[in-house]
């Protein structure tokens, strides 16, 4: 009979090393006595050469071991070793056999530890202490059932990484200084953890969010057993809340239906219905106040041109230059458009110019901001604004430059080169042509000249429709 003594608490390392040795020596579970108490037989001074080779176990078994060693049941190591032994001796899929008595019992231990961890995440309360140097520290006292102090640490570190905090428990303690985590010995309950105004506010919140008409203390206790109450400030309110509930409900049931004592705010109610922007200027203020859907843009680029313009031209989205200047069509493609309009005999100043999307979208490459096309979802998001905007401008014809604008104005994918020309948009007489940036991207000089001539011809045709 071999006796193995492991460290107090969750001694995962000690258990792992013990398993390696026992497996190497082919020691059956019946031949091992497990006990707990410092110092561990496998303290750090034990020569590693005595360890057996690593034992390969299915991942699920490894995870179960990690959890169950935290349990306070003194039999946990013996049960786990019986599991390991059976898995190593022909029952690889043992954990699938949920009806096996050993597996069933280990699953129950596993569940108890998980629940304890979950409840510690949930019911632990920090109190704020002011440091002499003006900083804030947070301290909590908690009494877990199992050895889970180290198991809960990652959760608290991740959630409260930017705070300085200490968690004290009878099974060990944790301290986080915003950089590193220190584990410490078991602690005593601190004499007094003074509550601040936030704790007072929390108590008021807890009382107010309770609905006396639904009182059900049994359900409460099932999820929040009494053993946790001592360390939760809000639970002080429970007895009075439960006691007063019947009377509060009775009073509500017996009360006469309420007759409003104050005048009804007819004016305000009537005014409420008029909330849509009433002018283009107001709409533009809404657009300027709004966040870009994709972060990064300097500002929203608004439409430009006279309200009541006969033609509205809709582009894709602002580019780098537009984003800096806050005006549409001022970059290279804009200059091309200006020239084409002039050639087609259209006065740019008399046209309303805007974009389907109001914010520049890009990826940063060194110093350059590389334009990114908007996605269909982004185009739809901006569609509300475009439609409202056109509603104020009331053009006789809307010209869509490129596929993005056509998508915004029709709600469908348009093949620009195939479908260029007049088209019915949602509520507008429309016309589809290419976007001038397409001309900039054409490789050959000859090709570009021809495409540009077609673009100018399109603009002439559009102008003739008005």
């Amino acid at each position: 009979m071999r006796t193995i003594t492991l460290r107090e608490g969750a001694d995962l390392d000690g258990f792992r090393r013990a398993v390696r040795r026992l497996a190497a020596a082919r020691t059956a579970p019946e031949g091992v006595l497990w006990s707990v108490g410092a110092p561990s037989l496998f303290g750090d001074d034990a020569p590693a050469s005595e360890d057996g080779a690593p034992v390969f176990l299915p991942q699920a078994v490894g995870q179960l071991i990690e959890t169950v060693v935290c349990h306070s049941d003194p039999e946990r190591y013996a049960l786990l070793y019986r599991l390991v032994w059976r898995v190593l001796n022909g029952e690889r899929a043992l954990l699938d056999q949920h009806a096996d008595p050993l597996v069933h019992r280990l699953e129950r231990l596993d569940k108890a530890v998980r629940r304890d961890i979950h409840k510690m995440h949930a019911f632990l309360r920090f109190r704020a202490l002011s440091d002499p140097d003006g900083g804030e520290r947070y301290v909590a006292w908690f009494e877990p059932d199992h050895h889970i102090v180290e198991a809960v640490a990652p959760f608290f570190v991740e959630r409260f990484e930017s705070m300085v905090w200490t968690i004290l428990t009878p099974k060990g303690s944790l301290h986080w200084d915003r950089r590193s985590l220190m584990t410490g010995p078991p602690a005593e309950r601190p004499d007094s953890l003074a509550d601040d105004r936030f704790a007072e506010g929390w108590l008021r919140y807890y009382e107010s969010t309770f609905n006396p008409a639904r009182v059900n203390p049994t359900a409460m206790r099932a999820e929040m057993p009494r053993k946790y109450w001592a360390n939760m400030p809000e639970t002080a309110a429970i007895p009075a809340l439960v006691r007063s509930a019947p009377a509060r409900v009775q009073a509500m049931l017996e009360a006469e239906a309420a007759i409003p004592r104050r005048r009804m705010p007819e004016k305000a109610v009537a005014a409420m219905a008029r909330q849509a922007p009433e002018s283009l200027a107001e709409l533009n203020r809404v657009i300027q106040r709004s966040e870009p859907l994709v972060p990064g843009a300097t500002q929203a680029v608004l439409g430009e041109g006279p309200e009541g313009a006969a033609i509205a031209i809709v582009g894709e989205q602002p580019g780098d230059q537009e984003d800096r200047d806050g005006r549409p069509f001022v970059g290279p493609a804009g200059q091309l458009l200006t020239a084409a309009l002039e050639e087609a005999g259209i006065d740019r100043g008399g046209v309303y110019l805007t974009n389907a999307v109001k914010h520049f979208k890009f990826v940063q490459r060194g110093k350059r901001r590389i334009h990114q096309s908007p996605t269909a979802g982004e185009v739809k998001h901006y569609r509300w604004w475009l439609m409202t905007e056109l509603g104020f401008v009331r053009p006789r014809l809307v010209v869509a430059l490129g596929a993005t604008a056509a998508l915004a104005l029709t709600g469908r994918t348009v093949a620009v080169l195939r479908e260029r020309g007049p088209m019915a948009f949602d509520g507008w007489n429309g016309f589809v042509t290419v976007h001038p940036s397409y001309l900039l991207r054409l490789p050959g000089e000859e090709e570009r000249r021809r495409a540009q001539a077609e673009f100018v011809a399109d603009l002439r045709r559009a102008a003739a429709l008005v």
Partner: protein
């Protein structure tokens, strides 16, 4: 945090407590890091329970309980004499951060009465979320109620900052909405659900963050005369058409300052509970609304037994089911067997023929499941499912919970 703020908190938490649609689950993992604060893990955490058995997960408050709407079932309607209060954006931010640092909450659930206009209200709520996220690096959970009458772009702005958006339908039929909530319009609400759903789906495809935990809604039960069947039909439509994550049911409970139009009686908690069970069958157990409704009478669920048992008792010819050979779909229809137990049965039976004793270790509901099962060592004697008193044998008397 001074006395005045504590006082406001009392009023505005009380005003928000009737909203059940406030879970904190389903968010994408996220952390605030060294400069920010908080984390979301995907599963919500209940940080406390109040004596009504409900969980306290988010700081559930209204921005203001002043309201221009006059929905009769609502404590905050404009014709109510309830005490009114109003938070500033900064106050809500301060409260959220303060409670979060003390590990009291998972985040914020913010709703509001309608003041000035739906747009103004929605914008204020959006500003709270934006301030938390942008100025404080807050990575906890944010759930915003959307105001369906607000402009589409404001609702979409809210989705940029919130983990979940919800719009309360409140009443299951357009007819009841008209009668009880004159300013609301079922068409508008559903249009916004459609819009939000579209944005959520697109953002997922385009890997953008937009209300990553989806959207939910709430239906009040027992304020109008809608049957359980029509409530479930409404839910079924919402799940299918708008991709809602959850429909919450809230038993109409008496409110101080009640309107004369509404029933004055204790809330139908049992009915609410049965609707939740039915909703579960709808979402996870492959039942149709029609099947669930057929278990009850006249469009109402049986209050005495759960809807799955009710269906089984009316469809006895489908039982008993052999646990060693039946498919998943049929096992899920056995009263007392939950989805988890069924999955365990499926994996365990690959290795062994299951006996009754084994089932006892796989499921906690064996007592109810037994008459409907066949196991390796067990066949219900004399067709237990044919007994007329089966219902009596299975039902533990249930009544509304009494106050003590």
């Amino acid at each position: 945090m001074d006395d005045a703020l504590i006082e406001k908190l009392g009023i505005l938490a009380d005003a928000a407590k009737y909203d059940a649609s406030c879970a904190s689950s389903g968010a994408k993992p996220r952390r605030g890091g060294k400069e920010g604060l908080g984390s979301t893990t995907g599963a919500g955490i209940c940080h406390a329970y109040t004596p009504d058995g409900r969980c306290v997960s988010l700081l559930k408050i209204l921005l203001t309980n002043h309201c221009l709407f006059d929905c009769v079932y609502c404590i905050n309607r404009r014709s109510s004499n309830v005490r009114r209060a109003r938070f500033t954006v900064e106050e809500v931010v301060t409260l959220t951060l303060g409670f979060y640092k003390r590990n009291c909450i998972e985040g914020l659930f913010l709703s509001s009465g309608i003041i000035r206009s739906p747009d103004h209200t929605m914008e204020q709520m959006m500003l709270v979320a934006r301030t938390l996220r942008r100025d404080h690096g807050f990575a906890g959970y944010i759930h915003l109620k959307t105001i369906p009458e607000a402009s589409p772009w404001l609702i979409e702005q809210a989705g940029l900052w919130a983990d979940r958006l919800s719009i309360n339908l409140e009443l299951p039929t357009d007819h009841s909405l008209k009668a009880f909530a004159p300013e609301k319009n079922g068409g508008t609400i559903k249009a916004v659900m459609g819009q939000v759903n579209e944005r959520i789906v697109e953002a997922k495809e385009e890997r953008r963050r937009f209300s990553p935990a989806g959207q939910s809604t709430q239906l009040i039960v027992g304020a109008d005369d809608a049957t359980d069947r029509s409530v479930l039909e409404t839910s079924g439509t919402l799940y299918q058409r708008y991709g809602l994550r959850r429909v919450y049911y809230s038993a109409f409970s008496p409110i101080p300052e009640a309107s004369s139009v509404l029933p004055v009686k204790p809330p139908p908690l049992q009915r609410e509970n049965r609707l939740y069970q039915a909703d579960w069958l709808l979402r996870y157990y492959g039942f149709t609304v029609e099947e669930i409704a057929s278990g009850g009478e006249d469009g109402m669920l049986d209050l005495g037994i759960d809807p799955k048992l009710a269906w089984a008792l009316k469809n006895r010819e489908r039982f008993p089911v052999d646990v060693n050979s039946a498919d998943r779909e049929m096992l899920l229809r056995v009263p007392g067997l939950g989805a988890r137990a069924v999955d365990k049965i499926l994996s365990a039976r690959r290795h062994t023929r299951l006996r009754l004793e084994d089932l006892g270790r796989l499921s906690t509901g064996l007592r109810r499941a037994r008459p409907f099962l066949i196991a390796a060592d067990y066949h219900p004697a004399g067709g237990l499912t044919d007994r007329l008193d089966l219902r009596q044998r299975l039902v533990t008397p249930s009544s509304q919970l009494s106050l003590f």
